[in-house]
Symmetry: C2
Subunit: 417 residues, 2 copies
């Protein structure tokens, strides 16, 4: 293992190369970027044997480290998952290219014609954990948006990510794009993350994808701007004007479809006057295998404790509570939410309007499952994560959210009086 | 003077109150915000005597501190300037309210209807230097966008800013909005700035307006996201296909209209084949009182030194240089520009396209004066500054750029398969 000075110098070099690649990528033709992604998909499929072999090394490492079954599952790559990676790359290749899009244009009385044109952000640093497919997804989205990317995968997926990264580089080469457009940090050393988080001259934005530990580290150490990705402490509120059938369907789906994703509901708030409906829903959730931790006035699996509010279970566990009215629900959500996604069940337009107006989460839903909180479901094609901050990107972060813009102004010898 | 612990506690309190005000402001009616700004304008005009008296104290302080004539001029308020402040407040009052605007909406095959709705950012910290009118401009723009704002003015304008701030608070009161929506840091102590830059729980974004010293401090200390505002190292490139009349008019205007603003041109690049035209322009600039610091092959006032490239003179001084071709101009600009504004003079569409595509400054112009780099001239009404970074806001930062957005999703009992 190298010492920290060496790691820092290595990261500086990676940063400089990313910056240089970004300058070229900024005006790379849309077709070249699409071709690179298609060629990368071809390479991933052709080299699936190598990828599975690399993954086997990671699985051995994970077993030695005593990873949980869930983490081992996230880490594992088989032919079907590799096919999924190829499909993802081809899907991104097929998206419209965001760079150069005219977002708005207008004329001014001075005679100027002004256009606001989409541009790449520059260099994106992506720090992620165990899922090796993020290497392909994040690399592809950043490239699509004309950005150079520095990928830092989890130490568990080190070999798998390396094998997938080699295919991305092969794709770049096939399209005549610079290999440095997609770089993978070639060490497990944590010092590399600290360098990445502070290289303000070489990195324009950091996208962290991972659990509390990673997010905390990023918040403490980052000097580079960050697209905040907190956990999904998702609330569903059953209003007194909720429709019973919609409520039962939506709450069940919000929790049970996939309890481990960030859009899964974690806390059910029930208007006191909808207690009966709420209790029915709780009974159905319990019947579906969910452990319900409930507050006073409700019957559940166990009594809720104070620390069950504002908790991301990511599991077959859910908290539930009666509230006096919609404002009490709003107050609870304001206090405990991570501003990811919240939903209201109601037939009352005024209640929905109040919920939408007074809450400020990235995604607010009415009579719809919170499991729709996903870039694909929003029509963005793919996403690099769900941003919970308010700066630049918010909600699902797709290729478009990885861009900036510039103003292009045309005159005809126009001067300012 | 209080000690640093006291200052920090005071700033924490200001931050908490700003956060609480922001929660209410987020859904304040557009009319209330407009009324508050109109009432603030009335108050500024009614209390112009007090404001001038407060300003006199600042001018005394400035004289004691030995401020330059230019700085004393920036600091000075008279009746005409106070009228300008009132006009600015009324203009912002009259703008369309950005909050709640539907930026996009679409339907999904799932049955969901998705809207992207403009929301306030939250709490904005504005750190500025000598011009006391920024108190009104920044306060007004932040309020218009539904944000609470913490203003930290320069120590030179302490009393003037305080008097103007009192009028803003009067306006808030007249409209029934929380007084904490616009707070002014009530101390000259530098420790307050350090607190403001690090209160990530209470402040969402920092907008610095000032010179290199302030920008450097912000870059070093800020933990809160920043809308970068670097200097305006503005380049004008005279292409070989430049029209002589347009070139003379535009270059003269870009430099001489107001040499001290951030959109003033600082460096003239001349295609070798346009040397004759370039030399004419240089002669005219010298005749207009500009000191021209020129590179080899040109005749100017003095020879340019290495440190004249990439320098913001903000004065009647300009650098000029011959370049071999458009790519050499682009390379020079990439190396020395602050990514604020650059212009090309050319009749060749391909050259303009290359310039627009290969440079990444916030504003790129063709055959137009760089002095148009201004929110008012762009049709944004007013601005809090010209952002040179690429995150969130870029170019002139008006009310719209001080907003974020959220997704509002409507279903009808819609669940995800």
């Amino acid at each position: 293992m190298k010492d920290q000075g060496d790691i820092h110098a290595m990261m500086q070099d990676i940063g400089r190369r990313a910056r240089a690649a970004a300058a070229d990528l900024a005006y790379a033709p849309a077709e070249a970027k699409a071709r690179a992604l298609d060629a990368a998909a071809d390479a991933v499929w052709a080299r699936r044997g190598e990828i599975v072999a690399a993954n086997a090394k990671d699985l051995d490492y994970g077993r030695d480290k005593g990873l949980s079954a869930a983490m081992m599952d996230r880490l594992m790559l088989d032919e079907a998952r590799i096919q999924g990676i190829c499909g993802g790359l081809r899907a991104v290749a097929g998206f419209p290219d965001p760079v150069g899009q005219v977002m708005a244009e207008w004329d001014r009385p001075s005679g100027l014609h002004i256009k606001r044109v989409r541009t790449p952000l520059g260099v994106v640093g992506v720090i992620y954990e165990s899922r090796p497919n993020v290497t392909a997804d994040a690399g592809a989205l950043c490239l699509k948006a004309g950005n150079a990317v520095i990928l830092r995968g989890g130490s568990e997926s080190f070999h798998s990510s390396g094998a997938i990264h080699a295919c991305l580089v092969e794709g770049l080469g096939a399209a005549g794009l610079p290999a440095d457009a997609i770089q993978l940090v070639p060490t497990r050393d944590r010092a590399a993350v600290s360098s990445l988080l502070t290289m303000t001259e070489h990195v324009d934005v950091i996208v962290p994808r991972g659990g509390k530990g990673l997010v905390g580290l990023v918040q403490r150490e980052a000097r580079v701007p960050v697209f905040a990705h907190l956990e999904g402490i998702v609330h569903v509120y059953v209003d007194k004007a909720a429709d019973p059938d919609k409520t039962r369907a939506v709450v069940l789906n919000s929790k049970t479809r996939r309890p481990g994703i960030c859009g899964a509901a974690e806390c059910l708030l029930i208007h006191r006057e909808a207690r009966e409906l709420g209790q029915q829903v709780i009974d159905e959730l319990i019947a579906a295998g969910i452990e319900m931790r409930v507050g006073p006035g409700l019957t559940g699996s166990v009594e809720a404790q104070e620390d069950d509010w504002g908790r991301e279970f990511l599991d077959t566990v859910m908290a539930a509570k009666l509230v006096d009215d919609i404002d009490a629900a709003i107050a609870h959500i304001r206090r405990y939410s991570s501003q990811h996604t919240e939903a209201i069940l109601t037939e009352d337009d005024a209640a929905a309007a109040r919920f939408f107006e007074r809450l400020d989460s990235a995604i607010l839903m009415r009579n719809a499952s919170t499991q729709f909180a996903d870039g694909g479901e929003f029509g963005m094609g793919a996403e690099i994560g769900i941003a919970t901050g308010k700066m630049h990107a918010r909600g699902p972060v797709g290729a478009e959210q990885l861009t900036s813009f510039k103003y292009v102004v045309e005159g005809d010898g126009t001067i300012r009086p």
